[in-house]
Structure formats: structure tokens, C-alpha cells
């Protein structure tokens, strides 16, 4: 996301909006997208597949490496070169960090990073921005609360970086050992972005425009007792939303487990399923831009 300019972000949001509202028609007929999920994923994979097929394009995909030549010892570079001889665009998720950038430098066709290890998940960040724009009417001067595992959740890293060009105010609420990494906080400090770290989001709920929730995974805790102590501080229920602003929305990259209770789903504040839907339009916008389909 660090390479994506403010202008690029706004341009893609505008394009996603035009695709969603039918203001422009994009035709991907005859184009083939390779969906290479070296690390399996359900939602991102289906989202891209939907995006391509609804534009009239076609896909071939892999999920995991068990049935591929990767298992036979082929280098990633060779796998990618071969696939680039068939496809028009590659969508790639890989557990190795920097794999997507390497892919983009290796092949001559466009590559979309669908997640590389704990590093980046830029299309998620873009669909999050699109969702924020749609619900708030702007990306500027918003107060954003990020809640849960902020250390290992790559979506919050990408989103914090992406929003940093729009003068946000951040509240980061997480257990102490799952705080936002120092390098992200350094980037924010360098851009004079106001942020505060909390252990509990309750006290600032009335200030928030957006609350971005991520899952705290039990397996991240060495001692189960430590998990038990903090887990309830990070469960968002309807009761917590009593004094929020009218424009307030809850976002979540999904899948959720228990961090947002079901009673939130029917409130006007829940936006996570629409957020997933927005992902299809944003991914269509990215593909349209990269393949110059307009």
C-alpha cells in the first residue's frame, strides 16, 4: 500500500463506484485471470472469481500447492513465468512475504497481491477504504477505532497506512502484546497522524466514525489464562453501541467468530457484509485499471 498514492486511491474508489452504479460498463470477455492461491483462502478467492466472471472474463485457479509442480520443487519464478504464458492477469496469495512484488517483477502481465504472509493485503485495504467512503461520504478527518489483534492482522496495517493520507485520528484498542507494530506507528508519527493506544475501546465509542474489528485468536496467547482475561474486552455487542454517532459503522474483514455478537447484525451500524460485497466492485475496478478495460 505504501506505493499507492492518494490520487490512485481516489481514482479506484471512483471507478468502483461507477462500476457498482452501472455508470460505466466494463467488458472482460476473452480475458483470463489466473487465481493462484498458494495459501488457501475462501472469501478473497471467491470475491476475485465473482469480480472476473461478472465482468465477462474467465478464471482458472489453484488453491494450496499439493497438486502443483511447486510440490515437485519448481521455483516460484518458473511457475509464474509458465502461467503468464496462458493468462492475462495473475491474482496471487502466498505465505511468503514479498512474493507478489517478486511476481510482478518476474512476469510481463499484471499481478494483483491477494495477500502475502503477514505483510500486505492491499485489495482488502482498498475495499475497506471504498466502504468507508460509501458510509461516511468522505475519507477525510475521520475518527477510526481499530480493535482486536493489531499486531498480526495485516488488514489493519494496510488500512492504517492507506488512511494516513486523509488526516485520520486513530484509536488502537488491543491487548498489550497484540498492539500495532512499531513500524506502522513510526510511519504515522512521521506523517503527524494523531493516534492513541487503549486496552478498552468503550471510553471512546461516542467519538468514532468507524470501528474496524479484527479477531483475537486464542492461539496467539502462550497462556490460556491471559486470553481469558482479555477476550471479553474485545467483543462488540449491541449494548456497546448505545451512545455512538449516527454515521457510525462497524467494519470487519471477516470471517468473524465471536468478536461481534449476532445482535449487532440487525442494527443500522453493522456494515461487514456490505463491506464484503463492496470488495467485488473494488476488485473489478483494480482489474479494469490494470488491464485498461475502460
Amino acid at each position: 500500500m505504501r506505493d499507492v498514492s492518494k490520487e490512485d486511491i481516489l481514482k479506484l474508489i471512483d471507478l468502483a463506484d461507477k462500476i457498482e452504479t452501472g455508470k460505466i460498463k466494463v467488458d472482460m470477455t476473452g480475458k483470463l485471470a489466473a487465481l493462484l492461491f498458494f495459501e488457501p483462502s475462501t472469501r478473497t478467492h471467491f470475491s476475485f472469481e465473482t469480480a472476473v466472471k461478472k465482468l465477462g472474463g474467465n478464471t482458472f485457479s489453484m488453491s494450496g500447492t499439493s497438486s502443483t509442480s511447486v510440490k515437485k520443487g519448481e521455483t516460484l519464478a518458473d511457475t509464474l513465468m509458465t502461467i503468464s504464458m496462458y493468462a492475462d492477469i495473475i491474482v496471487m496469495r502466498h505465505v511468503i512475504e514479498g512474493a507478489a512484488r517478486f511476481a510482478a517483477e518476474t512476469v510481463k502481465i499484471p499481478v494483483i497481491n491477494a495477500g502475502d504472509g503477514t505483510n500486505q493485503h492491499p485489495t482488502q485495504a482498498m475495499l475497506d477504504l471504498f466502504s468507508i467512503q460509501k458510509t461516511q461520504g468522505t475519507l477525510n478527518n475521520l475518527t477510526i477505532g481499530m480493535v482486536g489483534d493489531l499486531r498480526l492482522g495485516r488488514t489493519v496495517h494496510s488500512l492504517a497506512q492507506a488512511l494516513s493520507d486523509f488526516n485520520p485520528k486513530f484509536y488502537f484498542a488491543s491487548p498489550r502484546h497484540l498492539q500495532m507494530p512499531v513500524y506502522i506507528k513510526d510511519d504515522l508519527k512521521a506523517k503527524n497522524i494523531e493516534f492513541a493506544e487503549l486496552e478498552d475501546i468503550k471510553e471512546v465509542m461516542h467519538e468514532l466514525d468507524i470501528m474496524y474489528v479484527t479477531r483475537i485468536q486464542k492461539e496467539r496467547f502462550a497462556v490460556l489464562e491471559d486470553y481469558e482475561k482479555v477476550k471479553d474486552s474485545y467483543i462488540i455487542s449491541k449494548k456497546l453501541l448505545e451512545n455512538v454517532k449516527k454515521n457510525f459503522k462497524v467494519l470487519h474483514p471477516l470471517p468473524r467468530v465471536n468478536e461481534i455478537t449476532k445482535d449487532v447484525d440487525n442494527t443500522e451500524y453493522a456494515y461487514y457484509f456490505q463491506q464484503a460485497r463492496n470488495g467485488v466492485f473494488m476488485r473489478q475496478a483494480i482489474i479494469t485499471e490494470l488491464l485498461n478495460l475502460k
Partner: protein, 151 residues
């Protein structure tokens, strides 16, 4: 009073002067100076008017490349390079921390693509005081003391 050199002069080669005190061995390590048969002299904690204390390295029969000089700046930005020919100073210059360091830093992240596929590393300068570098692939940031070099 007669001025006396604590380290012998060299006939041809490079003198790396004004190295931050205590950093000479690290500089020598990144330049891999001990493994090519050249005569090397290393002075540590020598008195310096400019710096109080400094380190110095003299390498016989080797002129450092621009990239090598840049790597020295990452560890000791105060260092100066002096090129010697026939016991005479022919060039003397300060070194600058490069904005981009290609090939020579090994990424400490074992999950970084540069440690998996054959791909030259690419780091950008991410901070000057203390010096920090960021991997162009996995985007992780490291203090310069955390990384290893190869030439």
C-alpha cells in the same frame, strides 16, 4: 615534537578514517577485508582531534567501490575515504548514506521472498538516526545492527 603514526602508512590502497569508535571490526566484516590476502591494519579507539576517539582501517592494494563506501556509511556516517597511490593521497572524500542499497544486505526475515527465491535484495533507507533500512520486498524495517551484509 615529532609526529608519530600509530599505524604504518600504506603504499597503495584505501584508508578508511574517522570511523565511529568501536565500529571498525564491523566495517571490516562487511567489506570482507580479511579474506583476500591483502594487508590490513585496524586501529581502534585512536585519539582524534575531531572526534575524541576514532577507528581507522588501512587496506593495502584495494580501492573501494562506491557501493562498498555507501555500506560503510550505514554503520559509520562520519567515515572518510582516502585513496593512496605510491604513499600519496590522491583522493579524499566523505561518504554519504545511500538512499537505496541493492544486493548487499541480507534480509533477516526468514519468510521474505529474498531468502526463498534467487532474487537480489533491495533495501531503502528508512531512518538516519539511528540508521534503519526497509526491505523492498517484505517491507519489514530493521536497525542497521540487525542486518548482515554480503559482497
Amino acid at each position: 615534537m615529532k609526529k608519530q603514526l600509530k599505524v604504518d602508512p600504506i603504499k597503495n590502497g584505501t584508508v578508511i578514517d574517522h570511523i565511529t569508535s568501536g565500529k571498525a571490526l564491523q566495517v571490516a566484516e562487511i567489506l570482507n577485508v580479511g579474506n583476500n590476502g591483502n594487508e590490513i591494519m585496524i586501529g581502534i579507539n585512536l585519539a582524534s582531534k575531531k572526534m575524541g576517539k576514532k577507528d581507522i582501517i588501512k587496506i593495502e592494494n584495494r580501492e573501494l567501490s562506491k557501493e562498498e563506501a555507501g555500506s560503510i556509511a550505514l554503520i559509520s556516517p562520519t567515515a572518510t575515504l582516502i585513496i593512496i597511490e605510491d604513499y600519496k593521497v590522491v583522493k579524499k572524500f566523505g561518504i554519504e548514506i545511500p538512499k537505496e542499497i541493492n544486493h548487499h544486505i541480507i534480509c533477516p526475515n526468514s519468510k521474505c521472498i529474498t531468502n526463498i527465491e534467487e532474487v537480489p535484495t533491495r533495501f531503502e533507507l528508512a531512518g538516519k538516526n539511528p540508521v534503519e533500512v526497509r526491505c523492498g520486498y517484505c517491507e519489514k524495517k530493521y536497525f542497521i545492527d540487525e542486518v548482515k551484509f554480503r559482497f
